[in-house]
Symmetry: C2
Subunit: 221 residues, 2 copies
């Protein structure tokens, strides 16, 4: 499947909501293309593949488009997740207000350190680690955010998998992955967010644009 298409869909979705609040009713492939940074043909093709049809001249109706994307993106169901590891990053995510606007709800946080469980005015409960399995099963959570220290990552990953978590957002520098080949059993979705890696990437790109030796090597001698 078109790997980046899902990402584009979520971006369209956001733009559409913003356009809607501005009072617009229709949107053209060119508008969405500009906003997301892709060619208009990509937008049309994306929708075409999803059997989303516009009007031959009037573009796409924002309201309908949002409804369709709601269904495709799974927004009609509750989108709940837990955060495991309430250190710096975990705590910051728990208090991040951006999730709510996207319909994502952090159901709870977990940490080995009971001190953080006593947290001041945090609206989301933080439980000790031994309640992890019970909570996830009772609440039927399927997505987990891993913000534990590096050395604990695979252990937490396995615990979460064992209790039915199937979607992972991993902030540890360890690249989590499933060993068995895709297609066997229920699929596991893992996204690794590695901030240091992103920064390195940026430094590299800056470096390459200034270093003609390397540039020559890469962009054709």
């Amino acid at each position: 499947m078109h790997k980046d298409m899902i990402l584009r869909l979520t971006k369209y979705y956001r733009i559409l909501h913003k356009l809607k609040t501005l009072g617009l009713e229709r949107v053209f492939a060119n508008n969405l293309g500009d906003a997301v940074g892709v060619n208009a043909a990509v937008v049309r093709k994306d929708f075409s593949l999803l059997n989303i049809m516009g009007q031959k001249r009037g573009g796409y109706e924002i309201e309908n488009l949002i409804t369709d994307l709601d269904k495709i993106l799974g927004k009609d169901k509750p989108q709940r997740a837990v955060i495991v590891g309430c250190g710096r990053i975990g705590s910051a995510l728990m208090r991040y207000s951006g999730f709510a606007v996207d319909g994502i709800h952090i159901a709870a946080g977990f940490d080995i350190n009971p001190a953080v469980c006593e947290d001041q005015h945090c609206p989301i409960p933080i439980y000790p680690m031994d309640e992890l399995e019970r909570f996830i099963q009772e609440e039927q959570i399927r997505v987990g955010i891993i913000t534990v220290p590096e050395q604990a990552s695979t252990e937490i990953f396995n615990r979460l998998r064992a209790v039915g978590i199937r979607g992972f957002l991993n902030f540890t520098p360890i690249e989590l992955k499933v060993s068995r080949p895709a297609g066997t059993g229920a699929p596991i979705i893992i996204h690794n967010v590695n901030i240091a890696l992103e920064l390195e990437h940026i430094f590299y790109e800056l470096n390459i644009t200034e270093n003609s030796e390397i540039t020559a090597q890469l962009y054709g001698s």
Copy 2:
């Protein structure tokens, strides 16, 4: 150019350091491929394109490989960045210990709120916003991490650009981008990290594997 190659290089680089600390001296394309999750041929081709040669049977010498990647990834120069916006996420990043091991140094943080500037035992100084330009110019910083609220993102982006920042790591949900076409003047590198988007992506993928209607639409009727 091979878009994902840079990302792979940084991943190789990490693995290599870990293998080195374990006492290994050589590594095979298959090792790196397994660790990074790609085919061994990709690894060989990556190195081949960079004119990095191994031994015909003995694999690659880790020490040499690291040295080569050091140069290619720009690790021989100091990798310094500033953080603009010291809220939840910004503060968490400032105290993140993972940067140091990758040779990245956060030179300073900036915030409109003087209160956070009085921060307790934070090893990195936090300055008020009006010192932004002076500091960046004096210290010759070229990479900025934007962790301000959404509505301030483009303003900060422009200020940073004006003062010579050329690499951006953007954590606001606004997708920053340069208007003028690539190739004009010094290139600007922007990486957008959108955590909510990543989560949405996961929910979508989980959804699609359970929703046969949509699956059928996408994976061939």
